[in-house]
Symmetry: D2
Subunit: 355 residues, 4 copies
Amino acid sequence: MGVRIGQMETGRLNAITDVEGVGVGHTTLIHGDPPLKIGEGPIRTGVTAIVPHQGNVYLDKVVAAVDLSNAHGKATGFPQIECMGVIETPIMLTDTLNTWLVADAVLDYFRERYDTTPRSLNPVVGETNGDFLNDSFGRHVRKKHVFEAVDKARSADGRGPVEEGNVGGGTPMTGYGFKGGIGTSSRVCGNFTVGALVQLNCGRREDLRIDGAPVGREVKMPPQEGREPGNSIMMIVATDLALTSRQLWKVAKRAVLGLARTGSYQGVSSGDFVIAFSTGKVSPDNPIEKDYTGNIALGGGERFLDGVFRATADSTEEAIINALFKAETMVGSHGTRYALPLDQVEEIMKKYKRL
Amino acid sequence: MGVRIGQMETGRLNAITDVEGVGVGHTTLIHGDPPLKIGEGPIRTGVTAIVPHQGNVYLDKVVAAVDLSNAHGKATGFPQIECMGVIETPIMLTDTLNTWLVADAVLDYFRERYDTTPRSLNPVVGETNGDFLNDSFGRHVRKKHVFEAVDKARSADGRGPVEEGNVGGGTPMTGYGFKGGIGTSSRVCGNFTVGALVQLNCGRREDLRIDGAPVGREVKMPPQEGREPGNSIMMIVATDLALTSRQLWKVAKRAVLGLARTGSYQGVSSGDFVIAFSTGKVSPDNPIEKDYTGNIALGGGERFLDGVFRATADSTEEAIINALFKAETMVGSHGTRYALPLDQVEEIMKKYKRL
Amino acid sequence: MGVRIGQMETGRLNAITDVEGVGVGHTTLIHGDPPLKIGEGPIRTGVTAIVPHQGNVYLDKVVAAVDLSNAHGKATGFPQIECMGVIETPIMLTDTLNTWLVADAVLDYFRERYDTTPRSLNPVVGETNGDFLNDSFGRHVRKKHVFEAVDKARSADGRGPVEEGNVGGGTPMTGYGFKGGIGTSSRVCGNFTVGALVQLNCGRREDLRIDGAPVGREVKMPPQEGREPGNSIMMIVATDLALTSRQLWKVAKRAVLGLARTGSYQGVSSGDFVIAFSTGKVSPDNPIEKDYTGNIALGGGERFLDGVFRATADSTEEAIINALFKAETMVGSHGTRYALPLDQVEEIMKKYKRL
Amino acid sequence: MGVRIGQMETGRLNAITDVEGVGVGHTTLIHGDPPLKIGEGPIRTGVTAIVPHQGNVYLDKVVAAVDLSNAHGKATGFPQIECMGVIETPIMLTDTLNTWLVADAVLDYFRERYDTTPRSLNPVVGETNGDFLNDSFGRHVRKKHVFEAVDKARSADGRGPVEEGNVGGGTPMTGYGFKGGIGTSSRVCGNFTVGALVQLNCGRREDLRIDGAPVGREVKMPPQEGREPGNSIMMIVATDLALTSRQLWKVAKRAVLGLARTGSYQGVSSGDFVIAFSTGKVSPDNPIEKDYTGNIALGGGERFLDGVFRATADSTEEAIINALFKAETMVGSHGTRYALPLDQVEEIMKKYKRL
């Protein structure tokens, strides 16, 4: 549509896969129709895998950090990341109640695909709650779906353009009262790249802002059905700039700034988690043009982080918008979740001079 | 001007003093002209006192929490608030290098004004760096100025309308490249009130957003002088709703959402601190209209917090804008800091349909 | 043996079940012999359930807090406890690689046993690594074992004396180079009770202290086999004193003091987690005799916590010792783990005048 | 006396100054007699400076981390250390109510002694409350005393043996009901050194343990006077091993293990803070003998930290004991604080076979 968030340039794919080595794979499961019958369907779920590089992450761990912004969620693996400052598995995204079966399957993946039998392993699984459309309690994501997602993430396709919207872990999700799901974006900044990927399931319709325009309040839509729309968001930030876990912890916190700009108040029931990791492909020496730094005169040694912060907030903000732009109307267990009406959005954006 | 942030109503004064019992007092020191002579001037500084109630706070402590959002700052008293969940002194705001003398003077205040000689005391002093305009190293705020500010905060005037802009601790500060300083705002929400007060000294000009409109990029201004504009922001949130320190910790985090909406990326050198406190005048039983809650169906017992979160983000966002609207152009030690040109802002807001 | 840790009295059972309503159930699985064949055995594992009360914890949550002392571990559910200040499921303890299957089974338990189908659930599962004796990768704990443990915890037997040593989640564990496992203890303190239960799998032999005596350095034992002994400890603290989550957070940190007194240095690979919860049966008004408080003159309102802290550290210290005293020599996948030789310990304790 | 804590070797001086470049300076102020007259005396106070190296720390910052173990205290500078991972001033220790005047004087020190005028500075001042013996409210530590302490720390003498007991910031302090103050110790470990220095003002008499022996319960002393003995402890850990701030954060937490072993329950009113810093003189490649590591088989890359952890806990434990051994009986504002009776201690240690 031409919406442009911030002043930095996007990467070639405008996706987290612009960070070299990062791969994304989705397994999407859509079967059956309402009414809900627990254990049978309707099935509107899936799993998304993000690999930080193409090797065995357990053997070649990557530096990472987390922000538990509003930790009303079940994501696994976060305490150990805080303690050790690394991730050692692909990052998996799925529907809440699949979380533990997905974590368990990641263990098998290492044995069956890498021929590594870890004595211990810290699977990182993020989740949001898709039960408005999905038979969540049925937990329809199986080991084979997990394997399929990681296999795809490790393929050449996995390092290319990233499917967005109703795919993978994002399949049944809701964003700002509209159909949500997976979104991604990236920014190139001097000699490094920052990419974000979100699984969007949070926000209230009236709060939605796109590049500052009050889209949520202006869109005309059928009255919302009784059941509360989604909650929670998982935000993944990747960079090829070599950073310490303390620096990445601060990067992770900037993803929440991007979320705020799209309108969220981070409701009490929202599980808003961020993981930031570095592939460490490029060094932080002279990484950034002066134009992107806000604070040249102050603070000394870490001022290159300002560019990373900006790239993180902007790419997260845009990833959220991209999830809404790409998701399509879906019927599921408790009703219909409508896609953001792009024709209306275009009008609104023009009215508010954002296009 | 008519800018309206969010959908909730403001309090009578649109100030933190709408929270009953809260008082604000400023001591403003403006003397001398450039050039800078350390210890002599120019003096562009002051101190602001916020009292949570009209009694002796050391004896009647109030529940509180903090968020160390980007803790590149010297604020005192925060670790003990985290540990004990209370504040026991007025909250003081000043220029960075005055921090410790102000804290020390608060101790004297208790002895001299309350006839209380604490064995130990945890003065809470927030700061931002005003040295673009002020002889900061000269530390011109003295004990008498501290006393004057607290005395005012405890007077009837202190509980009325709050002066904003170039006053108190905010006197020399910068916001988004324009003249910044003190700003305040409030929201009324069902049976309770939330008020915010900020000492604004952060942000880069191009990033400024007012109610989503890209004001910073549109304003035409003389080229900025060599020295880096300000950094850091102190955000104080008060409510009369009885909350625990864990709940206030989450409230504090929502102030940062309001900051994000005005455009900040929280630069690496920015000291962005939040204190939230409760005077506990009203109970959280049935505190809030359904309209203000985003998440009725989920989450259970704490969903009333959603209204508090929204009121916090909105009043913080507006307090920042109010600081910019009220601050006036000032000449000081390293040059001139221009006020936000309100006539241009009005045009821009109209262009972007925000007025 | 007569070892007495600290100066407070133990409860009637000297167990976490002295806190009224708390129940404990173990499922212990011991089958097969070496050599290790992944997926077949030897099986030396199990699961322990701790219920904070006899009702449906999802519907009647209890106030809780955690300390992530050295979070090199996979425990689930901790971030949400930090955010919301409650637990809503039984606390489960098991071998590391069972973690996620156990968490998933807890979900089924609510549907099948309580007829509650949660939209979302935050299972709390703690783990330590038992693979020196157990076929850990085989993940031999199944849903039925989880159900059995929770069922027992909810029975009258579950509220009685607690089996210790090679039982439940503690079955294959190691403590200070000796056979470890489950241990428990309690303290009665004025009008309230504190109980601790640990799953002990950490420590180096030479470091073991019992009531200050250097038992680990004095015990004569066969030379240790090649494989590194265990790591990690899960510590659960319960009290019937009504506390806030902030207060329980501080209680949780005192469990680590008890651990320190038994000799641990909290190795970098150790997953040392604490959960503290309150059943809120008694109020903190006048809860404690003057004798137990260290700090009468200072600090004001929370000084009753001093007694809780002391009870927590002492009962955790003793729970660790009890695990060692009750565990028996076990042969498993990678060798033999010998029980602490109690006859030698008695001699050593006499030598050091601790008996 | 021959007490030996742990199994590692001490450095040449058994002091934090065994870490090359670290210097310590005390200014001790003892004047006047009871009764207390606020502003006049009796004066039993002082200030201790620890410099991490002999240069200008503001220009050459050192990597650092903190643990806010029980943050009921007024220490300044800790939030910025958490955020930035460095210290940029000497670490100062003093009596609580001097905290802010000392912080302010450190600012002057940079201008007057280093000819550096910082725009901003993060003075790190730790404190414990000495008002049992000292006219604390009188705040008798002045700028010249601060300068004197830092000057000494930067001299050749400052890098030699460290005075302990009633000196510097420790002058009026109490430990376990006996006279406390400053203590220090060190451990050499493979190719690196760890040193600890404490300002001891916490603990209850009956709880004191020396190398596990229950000294506090056995010592016979005159009945204690009415006023509550001290609270709080500041613990400083230095190493020449190059560590990240995340690693130093974990090191800082191990100081508390040493504290626990001397008997403290960390009372609710205790301000127990740790700062750990690295001078980075040696690299962590192969830093440590196998003998000192507890966890060879597990965990991978950071296992060298186990030796650092052990050295930290042991040297902190011994520093506390050394403070008690060196402090002498003192009369002050509210009574007499008796030194630990070393002749009795020797008997007790022999009885418990610790000598």
